[in-house]
Amino acid sequence: MAPATASNPSKRKGPAFKPPRPVNNGAAGPSTTSKAGVGGKSGAKNTTSKGLQPATMTISSDAEPEEDQVDEAEEERQMSEEIDDLLPEPTQEEAKPAIPPKLLARLLYEGFEDKDMRIGREGMTVAGKYMETFIREAIARAGFERRESEANGGISDGFLQVEDLEKLAPQLLLDF
């Protein structure tokens, strides 16, 4: 039981990681070509793509036809949509930390006065969770503020504004 539940999220971990990638299109270039070479299905060139193979296969049934360039972006979009449908909460939380552990470790370390201070591995993970919750909460409260000010006849373009953050910051900081 335990290994099964553990392996499922790790499979989905791959796809959940992917959606942000289309942003740097330059980096997507080489992987597209490699995919074209291998033929989409067996294109496991690193561990992450290995992890998301099952998802790739289920999707490729409708998105396979030889449009190699569009293929990847299209796949990713579909994948992320499917994932959103299937696994709303838990994967998102587990799969993608808001701040990469290494960056957070560096930032925390920079804040130490005593440079011999270390952080335990588990403590680091929990600190990551803490910061992620902080960010999540900030966004959620900003969304709340937005809805409220839209209801009061403010700008209603659905964009979170700095003013929303300003309104929620004091209470947020008291809560964390």
């Binding site: 335990a2 553990a6 959606p19 942000p20 942003v23 709303p88 909460e89 998102q92 993608k96 808001a98 701040i99 990469p100 960056l103 957070l104 560096r106 930032l107 925390l108 370390y109 920079e110 804040g111 130490f112 006065e113 005593d114 011999d116 201070m117 270390r118 952080i119 335990g120 588990e122 403590g123 993970t125 929990v126 600190a127 969770k129 803490y130 910061m131 992620e132 919750t133 902080f134 960010i135 999540r136 909460e137 900030a138 966004i139 959620a140 900003a142 937005r146 373009d157 659905g158 964009f159 979170l160 504004q161 700095v162 929303d164 953050l165 910051a169 947020l172 900081l173 809560d175 964390f176």
Partner: protein, 137 residues
């Protein structure tokens, strides 16, 4: 982080900005919102300040316990004023330990070092009826 030289600080902040931006975009996608770049920038500043505070706190906690390593109990102390958050983190630690196959220690809320952690487990266990505001969407 005051003693950081400006160039390094700028790069670290840029890295933080980038990752927060990605995260915000992801969240917004799910909640049908959008965020202005200014929002992301302001949030980055907020998070930056929060990390600086947290790191100072963690250091202080660890030193107070006579350690030179920050461990999980110190991090849990960060959330001491928010019951909902505390129980959320506590559950997270428990899950983490079950996943790593050390369930026996989870209930103490500490790495069973037995150092200054006794009595803490009980107070945390009583915090289950949190405000629940930290758990959302």
């Amino acid at each position: 982080m005051a003693d950081l030289d400006p160039a390094t600080e700028e790069r670290l902040k840029a890295a933080l900005w980038y990752h927060i931006g990605q995260f915000v975009d992801e969240e917004c996608l799910r909640q049908n919102f959008n965020a202005t770049p200014q929002f992301i920038g302001a949030l980055t500043e907020l998070v930056w300040a929060q990390i600086a505070n947290a790191s100072k706190d963690l250091e202080t906690f660890a030193k107070h316990a006579g350690r030179s390593t920050v461990n999980t109990t110190d991090v849990l102390l960060l959330a001491r004023r928010n019951e909902g958050l505390e129980s959320l983190l506590h559950r997270f630690v428990e899950d983490l330990r079950v996943k790593e196959g050390r369930p026996g220690q989870a209930s103490t809320g500490a790495k069973s070092r037995g150092k200054g952690t006794s009595g803490r487990g009980a107070s945390v266990a009583g915090a289950r009826r949190g405000r629940g505001r930290t758990k959302m969407n």
